[in-house]
């Protein structure tokens, strides 16, 4: 990825869009805005941005509807989900639909710009809260959200986090940056990135934990 990433903002709050747009300033190139699912799909298909900054909550069907419509058409477009709610089922749903990362709306401008660049480069971005959810969902010892009717997976690899991945997630949940994680664990930043990408892949593909259901129940718990 060369130069500044080209970004489309999708959020139904005009105030938030203009705020992000002015704050990101020259760090990224904002090439379009949309406020709902259908306009967003049309816009993204026509301008083909590097990254779509996508609100999880949209009036016309939510963020995952945009991802599902765009994925088959423009697989190169990457999505960074953004939400004020932090409700696990929203987050998990949008990640499983194909978003490369998730951050909260309270994120600082510098961190947001960094997250966008990371996603543009093909990496995954986890907020500390998402890291907490993933650790909770893949908690060792407990199999599945409520246990009994868990289908056996075809690929057991996908259903477990390696101990290294858990360590990385723990540090993310403690607010560490990738660079700090690399120093703490004596590994390279690239390795940290690959661990996080691998966790993202498991999160998107794993069936054992029936994550969507876990997330829904998690909210009711």
């Amino acid at each position: 990825m060369s130069g500044t990433p080209r970004v489309v903002l999708v959020d139904d709050h005009g105030l938030f869009r203009s705020g992000v747009r002015s704050e990101l300033g020259r760090q990224v190139e904002v090439i379009g805005e949309a406020d709902d699912v259908q306009p967003a799909i049309d816009l993204i298909a026509s301008v083909q941005p590097d990254v779509v900054l996508l609100d999880v909550h949209l009036p016309g069907g939510g963020g995952q509807a945009v991802i599902q419509a765009i994925k088959p058409v423009c697989p190169s477009v990457r999505f960074l989900a953004l939400s004020a709610s932090d409700a696990p089922e929203d987050v998990i749903a949008v990640i499983r639909a194909g978003a490369r990362g998730y951050v909260t709306k309270t994120i600082s401008t510098a961190e947001l710009a960094d997250a966008i660049k990371r996603v543009a480069a093909g990496d995954a971005v986890f907020s500390h809260r998402l890291a907490g959810f993933v650790l909770d969902a893949f908690a060792s010892g407990s199999s599945g959200s409520s246990g009994s009717d868990v289908k056996p997976s075809f690929d057991p690899e996908l259903d477990q986090l390696t101990s290294r991945e858990r360590e990385v997630l723990r540090l993310i949940a403690q607010g560490y940056t990738y660079k700090e994680i690399a120093r703490e664990l004596y590994i390279s930043v690239k390795t940290v990135e690959s661990h996080v990408s691998s966790v993202l892949r498991k999160l998107q593909l794993s069936s054992r934990h029936q994550l969507t259901r876990w997330a829904t129940e998690r909210r009711l718990a």
Binding site: A131, G132, L135, D136, S140, S142, S145, A173, Q174, G175
Partner: protein
């Protein structure tokens, strides 16, 4: 009902008649009334027919169902004579939220009276003309009809929109019998239905008429059955619709109440906070603090269903972490990012862990100067750990001044006494990280559901 005009202060006095055992209906009869402290009003919100029973129930402080059962029993015992009284009650008792009843409104509605009189004369004329061809019929049938129509017109004009809807439902089958449930389009099915119903009624009635002469014992029964079947076929869908409408009405009411609840919450807390934020716009730290307080309050209300200020019923590990977060944010104005993985019940050891974690967090808030403190808590099958981390100025652990023994004593000491560990990593300019760990008894099961 007769006593509806008594001094309202008396109802209120009656309202406190709880006996020493908490029974409401103690004491002399006239003090027994509890009610809602107001005059008698029909309760439109909780009505089956006209709201008279629920109005009486609310007024006298009796269970609505009891009143309804009594009403029905009276109606049955009196052979239906109670029904007109109910209607008169409906006319004379104002609906809740209104000051006048239908009868008094009708009395002062001169245009309505004129209309009713006009209608009555018109109808009388038509019936008179009809009566010429059918002598004797008019006198027996038509006068009551004329009076009824005129009265209904008057009532209709003066009923509230709500009650007009009820009345409309009552007269609907006459106009809708040919239309059927699929409003507006008389489909084939409804034509067949009406034809079938007509046939059943005619055959049944014919059977009844003929049975009168033959006097056979079983045959009138067959006629009755046929007539009833005809009526059911004709009116059944309409009855079903009434039942369905009632259910829908209830659901709509529940939704409206929920909405009111939400808007009250938004008004009480969110708008208030927004107003405060505007007034404190020159103090960024205060603004952040207010915003975070509000955010947490709204979140716990939205996602955990807890009203603001409502304490958690039983504090678990995750709840304890949340409390540390709240208290530190409220007292020191420093944001605390808390992430909890898993949850479990608190025991003595975990209470010590909590106290140590609180101490470490307060320490970070007071001394580190960091803009945000991160609090990470994880329940694992064999241990529970809490990491308190800040990116503040940090310190050299080997040169801790004597007045800052707080960390060593209350954090380290607390943990070690209970068999846990406390690990402090800090360096000048690089922040501080306190890792607390406490082993768990193997039997205690982990409980999912704690990330906050």
């Amino acid at each position: 009902m007769m006593e509806g005009v008594e001094d309202p202060a008396r109802w209120q006095r009656g309202g406190d008649q709880f006996g020493p055992w908490g029974h409401r209906h103690r004491g002399p009869f006239w003090l027994r009334r509890r009610g809602d402290g107001g005059p008698l009003r029909r309760d439109q919100a909780d009505r089956l027919v006209g709201g008279v029973a629920s109005g009486v129930a609310a007024w006298r402080g009796i269970n609505v169902t009891t009143v309804r059962i009594v009403f029905v029993l009276i109606a049955l015992v009196s052979g239906g004579f109670f029904v007109p009284f109910y209607v008169v009650g409906w006319l004379l008792i104002p609906a809740a939220g209104e000051d006048t009843n239908i009868a008094s409104r009708a009395r002062s509605d001169s245009a309505g009276i004129a209309l009713a009189a006009g209608l009555a004369t018109l109808l009388a004329l038509v019936l008179l003309v009809g009566g010429v061809f059918n002598d004797g019929w008019f006198a027996g049938w038509a006068w009551p009809q004329t009076v009824t129509v005129a009265g209904l017109a008057l009532i209709w004009r003066n009923a509230s929109p709500d009650e007009q809807a009820t009345l409309r439902r009552l007269v609907e089958p006459l106009s809708a019998a040919g239309v059927g449930p699929g409003r507006g389009r008389p489909g084939r099915r409804s034509v067949i239905r009406v034809a079938l119903a007509g046939l059943l009624v005619v055959v049944g009635a014919g059977w009844l008429a003929s049975a009168k002469e033959s006097l056979a014992l079983l045959r009138p029964l067959g006629g009755v059955v046929l007539v009833i079947a005809g009526i059911v076929v004709l009116l059944g869908p309409w009855w079903l619709r009434i039942a369905r409408d009632l259910v829908l009405e209830r659901q709509a009411k529940v939704r409206a109440e929920e909405r009111a609840d939400i808007s009250a919450q938004v008004h009480d807390s969110v708008l208030q906070t927004l107003a405060l934020i505007q007034r404190r716009a020159d103090d960024p730290q205060k603004v952040v603090w207010l915003a975070r307080m509000q955010e947490r309050e709204l979140r716990s209300w939205l996602f955990e269903g807890r009203a603001p200020g409502e304490a958690e019923a039983d504090v678990t590990f995750a709840g304890g972490v949340r409390q540390i977060q709240q208290d530190v944010e409220a007292r020191y104005g420093v944001p605390v990012e808390a992430v909890t993985v898993g949850d479990c019940e608190l025991d003595e050891n975990l209470n010590a862990l909590m106290a140590a974690a609180r101490e470490a967090t307060v320490n970070a808030a007071k001394w580190s100067g960091a803009g945000v403190i991160s609090l990470f808590a994880e329940v694992e099958p064999d241990s529970v750990s809490i990491v308190v981390r800040d990116r503040g100025k940090g310190f050299d652990p080997s040169s801790v001044p004597a007045d800052r023994k707080g960390l060593a004593e209350s954090v380290h000491g607390r943990m070690v006494r209970r068999g846990g560990t406390a690990d402090v990593v800090s360096a000048e300019g690089e922040g501080t990280k306190v890792t607390l760990r406490m082993a768990r008894p193997a039997a205690a099961p982990a409980r999912s559901g704690g990330a906050s």
